[in-house]
Symmetry: C2
Subunit: 230 residues, 2 copies
DNA sequence: GCAAAAGTGTTATTGCTACACCCATGC
DNA sequence: GCATGGGTGTAGCAATAACACTTTTGC
């Protein structure tokens, strides 16, 4: 079939916003771009879509190539489509944001790409419209973390309540009362409290918790809704 | 410059989900497709992106060509990207949803496209993945209408409380208590009550209201948040 | 023994839900 | 005069927000 012949074909970039969390700070993994244009500037990790591959798969591939991670949280964010956003050629960018446990990523790989982590509040100027993309990703993360249990993706499997709280404080850019926070989390009925303490922070040590996927599904079935208010 | 030479270019479709509201029902404007493949089947209105045009502009153009409307609510929904979603050629579809006052659209134009309005609950089978697209659009509309004053886009400039309520009931697929509904709307402080009644429905007639953009902005400035709970 | 972070309950207020009767008018 | 849809208030309950002291232990 040779229908659709008269129409334009476009370059489709796939760019990834990679969130991590460490030491009370939301962080983003950025690369030093190693090709023209804008070689040497900071940028989101990206690549181009292939004809034989879905964009979802392309995003996975690109994320994998920088972090070594697969099967992590990865969701389409938005298609940025201004005509002149890339000076070389008309390119649209379909963006995906990812939430990873910062300890899991492959440091060797990220070194190869001249990548490094930046606090969300202290980002350099990025190429093209990437700063705008990051803003939108943060907005989406705020929404998503409020209504779905995605925060845990940014933490190790075992984490403490103070860690969880400071994660949400970083995402929402607010401060919260710790008693109210714990009450809210507790009432969700989706965590398991372990009989272990993490002793690295503080001197008393804090109990470790785990997110329990099954408990979460159970809660949703019974009509309860996940929600953490900012 | 001839960078980026090695990469694939893709067909980019732009499809529009056009919502309307009439007689207690959320409705969608669909067209009978007049070209192959799937000629004669029901479909969303769409077109292909041009190299020299942003996708936002393409969506406006496509919406305009079917409804005659410009400057109406139009927002990007999602990029559907499965490799085999269009059997002819690899095509990604960047979708936009629109909210229009059903009385405003140009019936001549829509006749030319063999378009007609369907209740959201009584949709025919659509081509490709368009049913899935509609589902996602409805999900988005639920979210958007809950948190932003977009419902008014679906109504005439002057509307009654019972009309507004049944709009929200249609969007959220729930029933609401009319006293609580009015209380909530009133407390937002964004409507102007007019000294006119609409007498077509019922025998008593219902007071007309108008949405006041300035009042809305004022309310948001003072920290109030728009929210209509389902 | 003291500094640093973890853990723990109660109260006041606010917001939300549930609920039933009268009103105005067209026929 | 009666049928139809429009309009109105309150009370009980649940969720939320505000708030301060004690505990543990590494140094």
């Amino acid at each position: 079939m040779t229908l659709y012949n008269e129409y334009d074909r476009l370059l489709v970039a796939v760019d990834c916003i990679i969130f991590g969390f460490h030491g009370d700070q939301l962080k983003l993994l950025l690369i030093k771009r190693d090709f023209e244009p804008e070689k040497g500037k900071w940028s989101l990790m990206g690549g181009f879509a292939k004809k034989s591959e879905s964009l979802d798969d392309a995003a996975s591939r690109i994320l994998m190539s920088l972090t070594g991670l697969q099967e992590v949280f990865l969701e389409q964010l938005y298609c940025f489509n201004q005509v002149d956003r890339d000076p070389v050629e008309r390119t649209i960018s379909v963006t995906y944001y990812s939430l990873i446990n910062i300890e899991d990523h492959d440091e060797e790989l990220s070194k190869q790409h001249d990548a490094s982590w930046f606090d969300l509040g202290e980002m350099p100027d990025l190429i093209f419209d990437h700063n705008e993309i990051v803003d939108r990703a943060h907005q989406r993360l705020k929404y998503k973390a409020e209504h779905y249990p995605v925060g845990f993706e940014l933490l190790p499997p075992k984490f403490t309540m103070p860690e969880l709280q400071s994660l949400y404080e970083a995402i929402f850019e607010t401060e919260m009362d710790k008693r109210n926070f714990i009450k809210r989390i507790d009432s969700l009925g989706i965590l398991v409290k372990l009989n272990e303490k993490k002793r690295t922070t503080g001197k008393k040590g804090a109990f470790l918790y785990q997110f329990d996927e099954d408990k979460y599904k159970q809660q949703m079935k019974t009509g309860n809704k996940f929600q953490i208010k900012p």
